[in-house]
């Protein structure tokens, strides 16, 4: 027996359903690899369960709030349970798209121009009187409006004209207390998955996403047939190399480990722009990271084994 792994899934996030699918699939893969699996829906008795069951490590298959924002990571640090994926700081940095973008700019990682507005800026400081300044601030329409902290493109809207801005901001602000307005980059949508860290770091081939509706929104993410995927992406080797290099820099700049997925767009000139980095990427049958692994000749089980081994090794070395 290789050890007992608590697979954390579900929880109260809006991405609960996707997380349950990821968690089930990860559990199967771990069992097949010979681990004892404790599949846990994250509820109010999580801490008690972890204390009594004393798993050797936790596999975080949670998506969205509490699972990707540092909450569960802080808790597991406190309880002394080694866990998969980026640590507290990397999770918290990546989870807030606005903070992550500031970091990208600092590290010369290309990211579309943006501004961030909070609900309090509207309620307390009259930010709604400055909507007319937004187009110039980000380089004109179209723009993407999205909640600063939310996954699966929930609350994401494309806005082509000034009279749609207020609606889109209000929608984004129903998912989070801050909204990001970002220059819309027209081009090839790519997801680049990165596994490992340091010496073991490996960048998987970019997966290209072609959404039927024009962009890869929540509906396209969960409805079969609303998006097409190409793995590896249909881009030049040079462009693919560049995208992979940038994904690696994002992974390292945020301090990620084990696994991350960097979402980018290649504009018409072939220039990549980083949109965000996901620290607990989807692991379902229709998720991007497993597609990338497949394109790289790795099985799903290979990926899961690598990730859990890294967490177990950290536990043994006490780091």
């Amino acid at each position: 027996m290789k050890g007992k792994i608590a697979v954390l899934m579900g929880g109260r996030s809006l991405e609960r359903e996707v997380s349950l699918l990821s968690g089930r699939r990860v559990s199967d893969a771990l069992e097949a690899a010979g681990y004892r699996v404790l599949a846990l829906d994250v509820t109010a008795d999580l801490v008690q369960t972890l204390r009594s069951e004393r798993p050797d490590a936790a596999y975080i298959a949670l998506h969205g709030k509490y699972g990707e924002d540092g909450t569960i990571q802080e808790l597991l640090e406190f309880l002394g349970v080694p866990y998969t994926g980026p640590g507290v700081v990397a999770s918290a940095l990546a989870w807030d798209k606005s903070v992550a973008k500031h970091l990208f700019v600092e590290r010369d990682i290309p990211t579309p121009a943006w501004i961030t507005l909070t609900a309090d800026a509207f309620k307390e400081m009259g930010a709604a009187t400055a909507l007319d300044l937004i187009p110039d601030a980000v380089g004109g329409f179209p723009v993407a409006v999205k909640p600063a902290r939310q996954g699966s493109a929930l609350g994401l809207r494309r806005v082509d004209a000034a009279d749609e801005l207020a609606d889109a901001l209000l929608t984004a602000l129903s998912y989070d207390t801050a909204a990001v307005v970002e220059k819309w980059i027209e081009g090839v949508e790519l997801a680049v998955s990165v596994i490992g860290e340091g010496e073991s770091l490996r960048v998987l081939p970019p997966v290209e996403i072609v959404a039927a509706s024009g962009f890869y929104d929540f509906s396209a993410r969960v409805t079969a047939g609303e998006a097409e995927f190409f793995a590896p992406a249909r881009i030049t080797p040079e462009a693919a190399d560049e995208a992979c290099k940038i994904a690696r820099r994002v992974h390292e700049a945020l301090g990620c480990r084990d696994v991350s997925r960097v979402d980018l767009v290649l504009d018409a000139a072939g220039q990549p722009f980083v949109l965000e980095c996901n620290t607990s990427p989807g692991m379902t049958e229709t998720s991007l990271l497993p597609m990338a692994a497949e394109a790289a000749g790795m099985t799903f089980q290979d990926v899961v084994s690598r990730v859990i081994q890294a967490a177990l090794a950290r536990g043994e070395s006490g780091t």
Partner: protein, 458 residues
């Protein structure tokens, strides 16, 4: 960006089975000693093969997600589910056992397409109690009234045909109709139901026989909770006669009246009215039993369509229902259920009065399952759903009850399924969400930054 022969980078080998993906049109490029390819990954290989008429029929992925979002203390004010726990399970068990014991050969066999004579007789007796005289031959038993909606629409509608409904209206009717691609025109309501002046204007615009039918839920309308007044009922039938248009009366909630006197169904005033009834609210939806009655030639056509759809309904369910409705116990159960719903309505209306902001208006239904809340026009209720789910309460945003995107500023609240205390707590949670959102909206409104919207009133 996509020169022919473009290829991906960093390939460690070839894909190993088993794979969940169905790769299509795999393009293989000879690489430096290894095989590389770009596979088009397809999860639904048949996505381009579906009938075009289904393009407009889809559920909202985000709403499905919120519906599924569960936490232990989630209070659902969204689903219109009857409180079947109040239906005595022992009585149903007896009815089902007797159905098999005494009529096993029939209950387990195919039946006649229009339904068993015994249940059609029972239905004609139930209809007599609300003032409609029918022969069992005038009744066609369906799998809930929902199947009757589909069969009737399939019988009547060609693409582009005009159907007139109340606005808002039952989302299941919109779904059933939309598969046949009609042009649905909504007539606003007020406290007395569908506005007859607006209906008349619409009928005049369309001309005689301009619409295929007028669909109405006169009692405790879903979702608006309003009841059509006797004057409006008479006027509706006059107008339908004058413009020679069929009227379809959907009456699932008619017997769940809390206050006020008995309202005569449209069908009791006019034999030409198509009437849809159901056992779902007076017994249980799990048996899937409903019925349709229509002028004889129309019913004969619907019967043909029914045969193609499912040959016949469930004899077992019908025989069980026949036995459940023997004697008088079901009447006491129904009276008790109605009292339960009335208490819950009271709890919801009281909580709304206590907690909801002054900008909100809502209906006070005399029966049925639903309260309809209207907020200022600039509010988009679907944008409150995420926050509401976070707060542990769900509701249905109003635009789903319109075919044209109106109703965004409205929400449907179901009081049928939660206990009164839970309803009070749910409304309190929702009020906090609404107040928080309104604060944001007010900030946008004060800056003149809100786009104008068309009214979706009830």
């Amino acid at each position: 960006m996509r020169p022919p022969g473009a290829r991906g980078t960093k390939i460690g080998g070839t894909a190993i089975a088993p794979s969940p993906y169905q790769a299509e049109g795999v393009l293989c490029f000879p690489g430096k000693g290894l095989h590389m390819g770009t596979a088009r990954i397809v999860f639904d290989r048949w996505h381009d093969r579906y009938a075009r008429r289904l393009d407009g029929v889809r559920s909202s992925a985000v709403r499905d997600l919120f519906a599924a979002a569960s936490r232990p203390d989630m209070i659902s004010l969204s689903g219109g589910m009857p409180e079947v726990s109040r239906v005595p399970h022992d009585a149903v068990a007896h009815a089902a056992r007797d159905a098999v014991r005494h009529e096993g050969a029939a209950a387990l066999q195919y039946g006649s397409s229009n339904g068993r004579l015994q249940i059609r007789t029972l239905i004609s007796e139930l209809m007599a109690e609300i003032g409609v005289r029918l022969s069992p031959d005038d009744v066609l038993v369906t799998a809930g009234a929902q199947q009757a909606l589909d069969l009737f629409a399939k019988t009547m509608l060609d693409p582009g045909d005009v159907v007139i409904t109340e606005g808002p209206t039952y989302v299941g009717a919109l779904q059933a109709f939309s598969a046949y691609e009609p042009d649905i025109h909504c007539i606003p309501m007020d406290g007395d139901g569908m506005r007859m002046d607006l209906l008349e204007a619409e009928l005049a615009r369309l001309g005689p026989r301009g619409a295929k039918f007028i669909y109405t839920i006169p009692n405790f309308q879903n979702p608006a909770g309003v009841t059509m007044s006797p004057e409006r009922r008479r006027r509706l039938l006059e107008l339908a006669r004058a413009y020679d248009v069929l009227v379809v009366e959907d009456d699932p909630y008619g017997r769940l009246r809390f206050d006020g006197g008995h309202m005569k169904p449209l069908r009791s005033l006019d034999d030409e009215v198509v009437y849809l009834g159901t056992f779902s609210k007076i017994f249980a939806p799990g048996l899937r039993l409903g019925w349709i009655t229509a002028p004889a030639p129309v019913l004969a056509k619907v019967l043909l369509v029914k045969q193609a759809a499912d040959l016949c309904g469930s004899n077992f369910a019908q025989a069980t229902a026949e036995r459940y409705f023997q004697g008088t116990r079901w009447r006491r159960v129904l009276a008790e259920l109605t009292r339960t719903y009335a208490e819950r309505r009271d709890a919801m209306v009281a909580a709304l009065e206590e907690h909801f902001p002054p900008e909100a208006r809502w209906t006070k239904p005399d029966g049925g399952f639903f309260v309809w809340v209207e907020l200022p026009l600039y509010v988009d209720c679907s944008s409150m759903l995420a926050e509401a789910v976070e707060h542990g309460v769900t509701f249905v945003p109003g635009d789903g009850f319109f075919p044209d995107g109106r109703g965004k500023n409205c929400m449907r609240l179901a009081f049928c399924y939660a206990e009164p205390e839970a309803i009070g707590e749910g409304i309190l949670r929702l009020a906090e969400v609404v107040e928080d959102r309104l604060e944001l909206y007010r900030a946008f409104a004060a800056a003149g930054a809100l786009p104008a919207r068309e009214e979706g009133a009830a």
